[in-house]
């Protein structure tokens, strides 16, 4: 209870009394919860007890115009996080805009904060979709959207610059497939390690692309491989600066980012989007397999055509051979016919001869000379 100072007659409260008063007032004034829109500057999640203490801000034209602490108790956090997971594409993390249901609470130790009871993932997704669309619009407006698609991918991409993480499942899936063909097709690849998701991914991938630019002569294509990390943290691939770096890459860029949500801008603008690392590896190796098959078919076709041609010529020759046998006078003579000659010329009509002419009659075997009577 407050008391009166005997000298000054001031009413004096204890700190806990002040706190209790504030608490009472706030509870009376803000009895129900309400929806609030804001940016989560930092999530501040403590896994050991499951509670989170987000810092919320509102920005206007780039400057912070309001800031407030919030709390998400462990039980609420679990429910909200699993709800977000259902949306697949988004996670609760620093720097996203959220629409949340909250009540104002006042704690005698921690002071005023917003207790977040629920978050609407559709809102955050919408915000991300908006950013994605803005990125697409900007690239289209700058007329660079199709830049990488104009590059030329060699029929057999034999030298790959891979942007990935050695320990990731996606990278291993990818190189396992490439390696499984190594006895038939030698594909050289070199790993350029990079962060692939989350906030650091944008600058990390851009840096690696710059590195590849210096040695691009040694490669046929750039391959961005991710996977095994779920669908979370993909917003980096909708980032304008990253997309621009991909577009201006001197080599065709192939993506195998692996997720089940909307295609990211990066995948849209890439020379080819293989969807998953496995699909992308198949896409590359199928080019080798198909070329090989075509070569086989061509050889078979060549053999067949050559054989046909030779058969054809043989038939023509045997027909000519038969015809020559028909013309061959030896065959006619063999049948018992004979030929009559005068002065070495064949006599075809009896009136060509007159009495006393000397003629030669040729048989199949031998000849005789006679005088015409």
């Amino acid at each position: 209870m407050p008391y009166y100072d005997s000298n000054t007659h001031n009413k004096i409260f204890s700190l806990s009394e002040v706190c209790a008063s504030i608490k009472r007032t706030i509870n009376n004034r803000y009895g129900s919860d309400f929806w609030v829109e804001g940016e989560m500057l930092r999530l501040n999640h403590y896994p050991y007890n499951g509670n989170a203490f987000p810092d919320l801000i509102e920005k206007k034209d780039g400057t912070v115009v309001a800031q407030m602490r919030a709390v998400i108790w462990a039980s609420d956090f679990r429910r909200i996080a699993s709800k977000f997971k259902l949306y697949h594409s988004i996670e609760l993390k620093d720097g996203i805009n959220i629409l949340f249901r909250a009540s104002i609470i006042y704690d005698t130790f921690y002071g005023l904060s917003l207790r977040i009871i629920d978050i609407d993932p559709a809102f955050t997704l919408g915000q991300m979709e908006k950013e994605r669309q803005e990125c697409i619009d900007r690239l289209r407006k700058e007329n660079i959207f199709g830049l990488n698609k104009q590059k030329i991918l060699p029929l057999l991409p034999k030298r790959l610059a891979i942007i990935s993480v050695e320990s990731s499942k996606g990278y291993n899936d990818f190189v396992n497939i490439i390696n499984s063909y190594s006895n038939r097709y030698a594909v050289f690849y070199y790993l350029f390690p990079s962060l692939l998701q989350g906030d650091g991914a944008v600058s990390s991938i851009i840096k690696v692309l710059e590195k590849i630019r210096l040695v691009y002569d040694f490669f046929d294509a750039v391959v961005i491989i991710r996977g095994g990390g779920g669908d979370l943290g993909l917003s980096a691939y909708n980032n304008y600066e990253l997309c621009k770096a991909v577009l201006y890459c001197p080599l065709p860029v192939l993506t195998g980012i692996g997720h089940s949500t909307n295609e990211t801008v990066c995948e849209m603008i890439a020379f080819h989007n293989g969807i998953t690392p496995t699909d992308l590896a198949d896409f590359i190796m199928q080019r080798f397999v198909k070329t090989d098959e075509q070569l086989h078919k061509t050889i078979d076709m060549l053999k067949l055509k050559c054989a046909n041609r030779i058969e054809n010529e043989k038939e023509k020759l045997s027909m000519l051979d038969k015809y020559i046998d028909l013309l061959n006078p030896t065959n006619t003579l063999n049948k018992g016919y004979s030929v009559t000659l005068k002065d070495g010329k064949t006599i075809r009509q009896a009136n060509q001869l007159k009495k006393g002419d000397r003629i030669v009659t040729r048989f199949s075997q031998g000849e005789i000379t006679s005088i015409v009577e």
């Binding site: 050889i299 030779i310 010529e313 020759l317 000519l320 015809y323 013309l327 030896t330």
Partner: protein, 72 residues
């Protein structure tokens, strides 16, 4: 015969063809006809020989291509 060997298949075949055509004409003297038939028979042998050599060459070549493919 040596001279003939150097000729291509097509040259030999064309010669054969015109030989047969001219032999088919009725006015050919019998001695000439004997010669033409003899020459034609020769040419047929040459052509057949060339064809079987080509067959072997193609067989060797395609086998080599297939081996090269298998090595890759």
């Amino acid at each position: 015969m040596n001279e003939t060997k150097e000729k291509s298949y097509t040259e030999c075949f064309n010669e054969l063809k015109s030989l047969v055509d001219s032999a088919a004409e009725g006015q050919v003297e019998i001695d000439e006809l004997f010669d033409k038939v003899k020459r034609a028979k020769e040419l047929i042998l040459v052509c057949k020989d060339k064809l079987s050599r080509t067959e072997v060459d193609i067989e060797l070549l395609t086998r080599k291509m297939e081996e090269m493919q298998a090595e890759n």
